[in-house]
Amino acid sequence: MKPKLILIGNGMAGVRTLEELQKIAPGKYETTVFGAEPHVNYNRILLSPVLAGEKTFDEIVINDRSWYDDNEITLHTGRKVVSIDRKHRVVLAEDGTEASYDRLILATGSQPFILPVPGKELEGVVGFRDIHDVSRMLDASQKHKHAVVIGGGLLGLEAANGLLKRGMHVTVVHLLDTLMERQLDKPAAALLRRSLEDTGVNFLLEAQTEAILPAPRALAEEPPRVGSIRFKNGTEIPADLVVMAVGIRPNIELAKSCGIHCERGIVVSDTLQTYDPRVYSVGECVQHRGNLFGLVAPLFEQAKVCANHLAEYGIGRYQGSVTSTKLKVTGIDLFSAGDYLGGNGYEELVFQDPTRGVYKKLVVKDNKVKGAVLYGDTVDGSWYFQLMRENTDIADFRETVMFGRAHMADSGREGQSVMGMSADAEICGCNGVCKKTIVDAIVGKKLFTLDEVRAHTKASASCGSCTGLVEQILAATVGNYDQTPKEKPMCKCTEHAHDTVRAAIVEQGLKTMDAVFKALEWKTADGCHSCRPALNYYLLCAWPDGYKDDPQSRFINERVHANIQKDGTYSVVPRMWGGLTTPNELRAIADVADKFKIPTVKVTGGQRIDLLGVKKEDLPKVWGDLNAAGMVSGHAYGKSLRTVKTCVGSEWCRFGTQDSTGLGVKLEKITWGSWTPHKFKMAVSGCPRNCAEATIKDFGVICVDSGYEVHVGGNGGIKIRGTDLLCKLGTEDEVKEYCGAFMQLYREEARYLERTAPWIERVGLTYVKSRIVEDEEGRKVLNERFLVSQQTAQVDPWAERVQGKEQELFQPLRALA
């Protein structure tokens, strides 16, 4: 028999927990849901657009009946649970329905706080919490004129906007002198107030409600209805509808009544368990490490951890969340996150453009973003939020950070405003996905997370350079509430992020993939195509002489030492040191091409010769012939050193200042065969005319009269990035040492599939300089480690295979006539 799980509260946090559970351990429990509301699970956040007439109820349903049926979940709507017998593990609903449980989730949410003033029970005084409240407001808007919203926070302003759109005359009453004081500083609040006044909302600030007064009754049997509001200072204004939006109170009565420990909320541990370990709690009803919650992003993180625990994976812990807010009032762009007020010890960077109505403030401490308020232009909200979550050092771009991502040195595509782009604008170049497709999928399939959008549309699923844009579209389409957690897990097989896994490999001395799976509690038996290649690399990098490379965890190109082409044939690129070749080599290449009927021979962008269209079974023979002429694998297929491009330099060129070709050859001889997180390209130019394009390479050298300029972190590709100047050096030997040290730092610290450009942007050039340029001792140690790992790496994979290694992999197992 399956264990029984009961969820009390059919709302956003509770049902998300079931969804997460269904994803990782489908059918583990016999599940029953009790919901007090007479509806299926809907997106509460979008009640504001429903009130404003921008959406219908059907559009905000998250899970309809068929979802519950498909997942074999019994749903009792309209049945409020009134008691829990923890001894016998039975819950009882108002209508007498009983059910027993092995595990219980309390997700009872919260309710609007109603000010304890006389008249609060009059007809027409409502909160703003559920669809019932919305229908009462809509009803009032058809019959009455004056609406008063008490509370100038997020919820109150969204209510005011909705009622205004429904044709009511709206006054917002607020106790303080500034709006949304929990998200905005004074200048932003003033701008917001002005825009809302322009749309027609009235404000009554610093007003304390004293009493709600009834209207004169037409008929005696009608229940008394609100007619006006009186304030402490004696003023009175007409009110046919009063919306209380002054805060929320966690729903904890049920938990309290059965003896579960509560303070302001239901107290839970990092695994979302209450003091009774069979009873979990998630959502706005919980109190975690002293905090209460009022936004969905942290609740969704809780849901994930809770589901993990229920699935008995038991590795996730909830450690609190950083949140951001957006106001969902059409036409007003507002974003706020983190510590937006600043003050003691914090610096403030402020940008103001009154004519455009733009105000931006970043709160910064020690060159780290701690908070942000954006008004009028929120395009960069998600970027700032990311800088904040990842604790990025902004020293290198502090002067331009206020101008947004578009003004960064790499004016990448993320800088554009997505909402300004047309529906057919292509967002994901890799998979040819346009904006409309993404928006349609988000709306049509009710997607909430980046992963879901990737799964359904493939947008940003490949090279990932459009991730920022897709996140923006997601945010703009569904409301900016589902933020990715601080550290993204490596893949669906684990909760751990790349950096955590890497650190564990080194610290715990994990030397095999199985050891990693075990120690870090992998959720799958043997990983997937995303984590296995990464782990293989991390292990190889950590234990250069101990770890045995696992070919089955490498992408096909690295397994067969050639590049797979779209028709299943391969391309072969022999190494040509520094781009130099000889008549003999060229003859051998020509002979090979003839002998194996290789259809295309092409010179590559990295100055090598590419033989395209080689059949898999011919590969070892092709390599054998090339080996015989003295050529080895060019690793054009690997996450490894690719090529060192050079110009002819002082040997031939009239401008040349140093022997760029010679240096290029030396660098290639030192570094070939090295595995790196992503491909790694180098170039050496003989003078600043830079014919070898050294400033778009991972490591580029530009020779000058007095020595060598060393540049790092450049790449061509989808998003071109010019290098940063690392330092200037005097001798070739120094260049070699810096090159080894830089490569090793990149090998040890960048995440798998992260090229040097995004890596340097993430950790900061200042950091790289501090390790390579300023720390002489450290540099030497890094270079030393590089050279040690090269001792086992510099074997020509072609020669090994020509001699028979894995020969069978190039041959069919059997040919059937």
């Binding site: 997937c528 195509h529 089955q552 397994r559 992999l809 040919a815 059937l816």
Partner: protein, 103 residues
Amino acid sequence: MNDWLPIGTLDDIPRLGSRVVETVFGDIALFRTAADEVFALRDRCPHKAGPLSQGIVHGKRVTCPLHNWVLELESGAVVAPDVGCAQRFEIKLEDGRVYLARS
């Protein structure tokens, strides 16, 4: 009745790897899982005909080397949200020998 063709031994196929059997109708890929089960699918991805035998095997699935579609080895079905199916073939394992059903 199945007519079983001997193909080779289990040891011929690398664990979490694959080998192909050539036929006049095109290649058939044989996959071996971590648990030493063997499955056979036509070596043609339903997406753009990528050679599945060159993919990465994990659990009872294989990821196509060309664009990362994931297929169930047991049924040949493509894992959602992508859709499609690769033809599957019956396999029998006996005393470490692999047999393919002639159908």
